[in-house]
C-alpha cells in the first residue's frame, strides 16, 4: 500500500467541496451536513466517524445521490474524477453507481432483494452496466463469490439471502459492490451488526480487496478501533461538520480536539483499563439552530469566551493534520495527565 503522502500526489479520486445538505422538517430546516470538504485518493481508505446525527451517513448518501426525499444538497461540489455529481440527473447518476461508486450497507438483509437468487443479484450489475451476456455475468458472479470467500459458490449461487448467515450476506454485498470494478466503495457501518469474530473476517476481507484492486473506501463508523484497523486517514464529524482530520494513528492516539478526546476516553478498550470511563457530558447540538461559535463548546471542558463567539474552521497543524479547536494544545496536556493501566 502506498503511503498517504505518495498517493496524494496522484490527485484525489473523489473530492467533496464545502458540501451542505439541508432537510426541511416541521420544526425548521435541519443543517445535517454543514460545509464538509474531504479528499479520497486512489487505494486509500478514509474513515468518517461520529455519533448518530453527526452527519456522517448523510454525507455518504449525498455522494451516492440517494438522499431521503425531504433532504437536498443546497451548495457545494462532489467531484468524482473531476466531474461534479451534484447537478446530475438520477439517470445520469445511475450510470455512475456501480461502475464508479458502489455502496455497502449496514443491514445486508434489508439491502438485498429477498426474492432474487444471490448469484443473479451479483450478476445484475455486470449485465446492466458492463453489457455482459447472461452466461458471462454468471461466470463473473461465481468468480466474485470465490474472491469474497463464499464457500461452495456453485451451489450458493442459486440460494436466497435468507439462507445465508449475517457474515455471508455481507460478503454477498461486498461481491455486489465489486461487481462492476468501482473506483470507490462507500461503506456505511458494514460490520456494526456483526459478531466480533465475523467482523474480523469481513474487515480482513475488505483490507485485502482494497490492497489487491486499488479501490478506495470511505468507511463510516462510530467504532474507533475499527477505523484504526482499516483506514489510513480519518475525519471526525460533529454537528454536521468535520472537526478533526488527519492520519488515523495521529488522530486516535494523540487527538487535538476535545470531542475526539471524549470519544477515545468514553469507549472502553481491551488494552487500556481506565479508572472510570469519562462520558461526554450533555447531548449533541440541535442542527436547526446550532450553537454559535464552536458547536462543541456547550459540552467542552476547555471552552473559553472566544469559543462561544469565534467561528472555528479547520486549521492546519504541523504534520498535515487539522483541527477546529481553538485551544487544541490542552488535549495533549489532558492526555499526559491521565492515568491509564495498559
Amino acid at each position: 500500500m502506498t503511503g498517504p503522502t505518495a498517493a496524494a500526489a496522484a490527485g484525489p479520486i473523489l473530492a467533496v467541496r464545502d458540501l451542505r445538505v439541508q432537510i426541511s422538517g416541521r420544526r425548521g430546516t435541519v443543517r445535517a451536513v454543514d460545509g464538509v470538504s474531504l479528499d479520497v485518493v486512489r487505494g486509500e481508505a478514509l474513515g468518517l466517524v461520529g455519533e448518530s446525527g453527526s452527519g456522517k451517513s448523510m454525507t455518504l448518501r449525498a455522494i451516492l445521490g440517494v438522499l431521503p426525499p425531504d433532504a437536498r444538497v443546497t451548495s457545494g461540489q462532489i467531484l468524482l474524477d473531476g466531474a461534479d455529481l451534484v447537478p446530475l440527473s438520477q439517470s445520469a447518476l445511475n450510470r455512475i453507481r456501480g461502475p464508479k461508486i458502489a455502496m455497502i450497507f449496514q443491514e445486508p438483509m434489508s439491502a438485498l432483494n429477498p426474492v432474487m437468487r444471490v448469484g443473479h443479484q451479483i450478476a445484475e450489475g455486470p449485465r446492466v452496466h458492463l453489457g455482459y451476456s447472461r452466461s458471462k455475468a454468471a461466470e463473473r458472479a461465481l468468480d466474485l463469490m470465490r474472491r469474497v470467500g463464499i464457500p461452495d459458490p456453485e451451489r450458493r449461487f442459486r440460494a436466497y439471502p435468507h439462507e445465508f448467515s449475517g457474515g455471508m450476506r455481507q460478503r454477498v454485498m461486498i461481491a455486489m459492490a465489486l461487481s462492476c470494478d468501482p473506483e470507490i466503495i462507500l461503506c456505511d457501518e458494514p460490520t456494526t451488526a456483526l459478531d466480533v469474530t465475523i467482523q474480523d473476517q469481513i474487515l480482513r476481507l475488505l483490507a485485502r480487496l482494497c490492497r489487491e484492486s486499488d479501490v478506495s473506501l470511505i468507511f463510516v463508523t462510530h467504532d474507533l478501533p475499527v477505523v484504526a484497523q482499516i483506514c489510513q486517514r480519518v475525519a471526525v464529524m460533529y454537528g454536521g461538520q468535520i472537526i478533526e482530520h488527519g492520519d488515523t494513528r495521529d488522530i486516535l492516539l494523540d487527538p487535538r480536539h476535545p470531542y475526539t478526546l471524549g470519544l477515545v476516553r468514553s469507549a472502553p478498550d481491551v488494552e487500556q483499563v481506565r479508572e472510570s470511563l469519562v462520558p461526554i457530558p450533555g447531548s449533541p447540538p440541535s442542527l436547526v439552530s446550532p450553537p454559535p461559535g464552536c458547536r462543541f463548546h456547550p459540552r467542552c471542558s476547555f471552552a473559553e469566551e472566544d469559543c462561544r463567539v469565534m467561528p472555528t474552521p479547520l486549521r492546519l497543524l504541523p504534520g498535515g493534520r487539522s483541527t477546529a479547536c481553538l485551544h487544541y494544545e490542552r488535549c495533549a496536556e489532558a492526555l499526559a495527565a491521565e492515568q491509564v493501566t495498559p
Partner: protein, 344 residues
C-alpha cells in the same frame, strides 16, 4: 472472590421445538434446537460475572431461563441454595430482575415512568402504599434522572435515559441479582460510558450481584470480576477477568480476544496480517458437532476432539480457572503449538 453462590445453574438446558407439528407427528419425534445445552455456572453474592459469546451461542436464552422468564427443559437453578421450582412464586421472581438490550422496545410506550414504577411497587408490595411516591422518586434519582421524569412517557427520553429507566424498573423490586442483557449495545459510544459507570456505581452502592451479557469484551473487562465464555450452548471457559485476558486457555477465547479491534492497531499492519482470528461461522444449534463442539473452527483440532467431548476442567490453581478443551492448561500443549501467542 470467596462469596457463596447466590444463583447457581447445574446442567441447565433449554430446547426449542423446530419444524412443523405435522412433520413431528409423521416422524413421531419433534426436532429440537438445543439453545442451552447443559450449563453449569455459579453467580456469587456481590460479584459481577460476564457471559460472552457470539450471537446464537445461547447466552440470552440462558439469561431468560435464569430470570424465570423461560421454562428450563433440563437441569436445576438454585437461589441461595434452594432449588427454584418450574413455576416460580412472585417472591422468587422479584429476586432476579433483568435489563434488556433495546430500551426502545422494552418500555411500555403508553405509560408514564411514574405509572409504570408505581404499578410494579404496588403489585409486589415492595413498600407500604403511603411510602410509594417517595420510594419511586428515590428510584429515579438513584439512576440519575430528575423528578419530572416520573410524569413523562418513554418516547420523551433519549436512548441512554430510557436505559436508566429500564434499570430503575429492575431495581424497583430490590432484587439480589441483576441480569443485564447487552445493556449498552444499542446506545451511542459517548452514552455507553454513562450507563456502564451507573451499573458499576449501583453494584457498589446496593451490593447487587450482576450477570452482564455482552459480546463486547472491552465492556466486560471494564466492569466484571469474572468472565464465562459461551459457545453453542455450553460454557467453554470460566476465569477471573484478568486471567481470561492474560492467559486464555480455550482456543475460542483466544480467537475472540484476537478478533477485537484495538485503537492502537495500524491499518498497514492489519492489511499485511494473515487470516482471521476465528475462521468460519458457528454451526447451527440443530447440528451440534460430535465431540468438542468448537472443533469445526479450531486450529488445534485433533482426532480426539471428534471423539470425546471435553468437559469443563479446572486448571492447576484450583477451581477458579476452568476450560473445556483437551489441550488446556498445558496438559498436552507441549505437543501442540499454541495459537497466536507468538506470530505464526
Amino acid at each position: 472472590m470467596t462469596g457463596e453462590p447466590v444463583l447457581s445453574a447445574a446442567g441447565v438446558s433449554v430446547w426449542f421445538p423446530v419444524g412443523s407439528r405435522l412433520g413431528a407427528r409423521l416422524r413421531n419425534q419433534q426436532r429440537l434446537l438445543h439453545a442451552v445445552d447443559g450449563v453449569d455456572l455459579d453467580l456469587r453474592r456481590g460479584e459481577a460475572l460476564a457471559l460472552v459469546g457470539e450471537s446464537g451461542s445461547g447466552k440470552s436464552t440462558f439469561a431468560l431461563a435464569l430470570a424465570g422468564l423461560r421454562p428450563v427443559d433440563g437441569g436445576t437453578i438454585r437461589f441461595d441454595g434452594r432449588v427454584l421450582p418450574r413455576r416460580r412464586s412472585r417472591a422468587d421472581l422479584r429476586r432476579i430482575q433483568m435489563v434488556f438490550q433495546d430500551p426502545y422496545s422494552s418500555l411500555n410506550p403508553r405509560m408514564t415512568v411514574g405509572g409504570m414504577l408505581r404499578e410494579l411497587v404496588r403489585v409486589h408490595h415492595v413498600v407500604p402504599s403511603s411510602e410509594c411516591d417517595d420510594y419511586i422518586r428515590e428510584l429515579v434519582r438513584l439512576v440519575g434522572l430528575g423528578d419530572d421524569a416520573l410524569r413523562a412517557q418513554p418516547r420523551q427520553f433519549s436512548g441512554g435515559q430510557r436505559q436508566r429507566i429500564a434499570i430503575a424498573r429492575a431495581l424497583a423490586l430490590r432484587p439480589d441479582v441483576l441480569v443485564a442483557d447487552e445493556p449498552v449495545s444499542a446506545l451511542d459510544v459517548s452514552v455507553q460510558a454513562t450507563i456502564l459507570n451507573l451499573l458499576a456505581d449501583l453494584r457498589a452502592e446496593l451490593g447487587l450481584s450482576l450477570l452482564l451479557i455482552s459480546h463486547n469484551l472491552a465492556v466486560v473487562r471494564h466492569l466484571c470480576d469474572r468472565v464465562a465464555v459461551m459457545y453453542l450452548g455450553r460454557i467453554v471457559e470460566v476465569a477471573p477477568t484478568e486471567q481470561i485476558f492474560s492467559d486464555p486457555q480455550h482456543p475460542y477465547t483466544r480467537g475472540l480476544l484476537a478478533a477485537i479491534p484495538k485503537i492502537t492497531d495500524s491499518a498497514t499492519e492489519f492489511a499485511a496480517d494473515g487470516g482471521p482470528a476465528v475462521a468460519g461461522d458457528m454451526p447451527s444449534a440443530l447440528r451440534i458437532p460430535a465431540g468438542c463442539r468448537f472443533r469445526t473452527r479450531c486450529p488445534l483440532a485433533r482426532e480426539i476432539c471428534a471423539q470425546t467431548d471435553p468437559g469443563l476442567v479446572a486448571g492447576p490453581d484450583g477451581a477458579v480457572h476452568q476450560a473445556a478443551c483437551h489441550f488446556a492448561f498445558d496438559s498436552v500443549t507441549a505437543r501442540v503449538p499454541r495459537q497466536r501467542d507468538g506470530e505464526e
